[in-house]
């Protein structure tokens, strides 16, 4: 058998794997005595055989394939997720309001109706107040509290909200600048459309007491 046959049959690989018959092995070894190329092959296959890792090691050590965009995908996707969730959180909180600092919220009980329903009580606000919260107690259970402008139209929902508490009182929340620009008339509306005036409030910035 000549060198070309040994090469084409991958005899060096078979030799290292102890696949050759005694006669084939002797032939190949005698050939190898004068063939440095086949010696190179045998050495290489012996190294491969000797250092062949177990399959699980091959899997575990499989090198990370660097992608064309530099392998920053994990970091980029993490950053993207952070940005999206942050943005979503901001929008939700903006919609829900209030994510207000307590110093930016002014809280009042509905002033007693001592004068006529058209006379407005001015609520004193700090200069940085952004919201006014008004508690309205003593509303009939089948009534709800609404805020209207001077023409009797209900204020836009984006500028105020009203909700009932467990104790039967109502909490109304206004944008502070709304009350500074226009008064809000409060009324208790019954199921049949009946309406009872609860008073009128507006707001103005006032210096701190003392």
């Amino acid at each position: 058998m000549d060198h070309i046959q040994f090469k084409s049959n991958q005899t060096a690989a078979a030799y290292v794997a102890h696949e050759l018959t005694e006669q084939q092995q002797e032939q190949f070894e005698l050939h190898m005595m004068g063939c440095s190329e086949c010696v190179n092959d045998v050495e290489a296959w012996r190294v491969i055989k000797h250092h062949m890792p177990a399959p699980q090691v091959i899997e575990a050590r499989k090198p990370f394939k660097k992608l064309w965009w530099g392998g920053w995908g994990m970091a980029a996707s993490f950053l993207g997720a952070m940005v999206v969730s942050g943005l979503a959180g901001y929008l939700v909180s903006a919609l829900q309001r209030p994510s207000l600092d307590s110093s930016e919220t002014a809280i009042f009980n509905l002033p007693a109706l001592t004068r006529g329903a058209d006379d407005c009580t001015t609520l004193a606000l700090a200069a940085n107040a952004r919201a006014v919260v008004l508690r309205v107690p003593g509303v009939a259970s089948d009534h709800r509290v609404v805020a209207t402008d001077t023409d009797g139209r209900e204020l836009p929902a984006a500028r105020y909200s009203a909700r009932e508490q467990r104790d039967g009182s109502w909490i109304l929340r206004f944008d502070a600048d709304l009350l500074q620009n226009q008064p809000a008339r409060l009324a208790s509306r019954g199921p049949g459309g009946s309406e009872e005036s609860l008073g009128c409030v507006n707001a103005a910035v006032a210096p701190p007491p003392g």
Binding site: V16, E37, E43, M52, P53, P63
Partner: protein, 210 residues
């Protein structure tokens, strides 16, 4: 027939006149024994390793082989000086057999004068790259094989030491396809070794291209 006669005859009729000249040179000038060592050390080492003799013992047997050959050349001459490689091979095989029969002394008596000049700059693959680097190269090879099928063939052939016929049958591979898997792996390993600066990997890569 004298040694000179046999040498003359061998040089005239043997196609491998290099061996005969080398044997004559060794007989005449001791320093040329280095050339024998450089030429035959690596294939003879593979002969020992193939017989499952560990590397240290193989190194010892290698020294014995050359010692016997040099003594033989200097004292009696070779029956067929044109077949120096064959003589070394037969000597190595006999020593390997004697080793496994326990017929060799644990440590040989080194002949300092004969072996003092035996050194080699042409290192084998295992001598050129340290253990960790070789293991890394093989792991890289396994990771870079393009198909899972190729990995499976190598694992079964060298790790599990399954017979080629069994692998071919279970994976439905022809002999040609099986050899192509080995050829691809050898090519890739040569590339990996070249990157590590192992020059011995060049020859086989080019020769396989043709």
């Amino acid at each position: 027939m004298t040694y000179s006669d046999s040498l003359t005859e061998a040089a005239a009729v043997s196609p491998d006149a290099g061996d005969a000249l080398l044997a004559a040179a060794v007989a005449a000038r001791g320093e040329l024994q280095d050339e024998i060592y450089v030429r035959y050390r690596r294939p003879l080492m593979q002969v020992f390793l193939q017989r499952r003799i560990d590397r240290d013992a193989a190194q010892d047997l290698l020294q014995r082989t050359f010692l016997q050959a040099i003594k033989k050349i200097r004292t009696e001459g070779l029956d067929d000086p044109g077949n120096l490689g064959g003589y070394l091979y037969r000597t190595a095989c006999k020593l390997a057999t004697a080793y496994w029969r326990g017929e060799l002394a644990r440590r040989m008596d080194h002949d300092g004068e004969l072996l003092s000049n035996l050194h080699d700059t042409a290192l084998s693959l295992e001598e050129s790259l340290d253990h960790d680097l070789r293991a890394k190269c093989v792991r890289e090879l396994m990771a870079k094989l393009p198909m899972a099928r190729d990995r499976e063939v190598l694992e079964r052939f060298y790790l599990k030491e399954e017979a080629r016929s069994a692998i071919r049958e279970s994976m439905n591979l022809t002999e040609l396809q099986f050899n192509q898997v080995l050829w691809r792996a050898r090519q890739r390993f040569a590339e990996i070794l070249r990157k590590q600066g192992f020059a011995g990997s060049d020859a086989e890569a080019h020769s396989m291209d043709g």
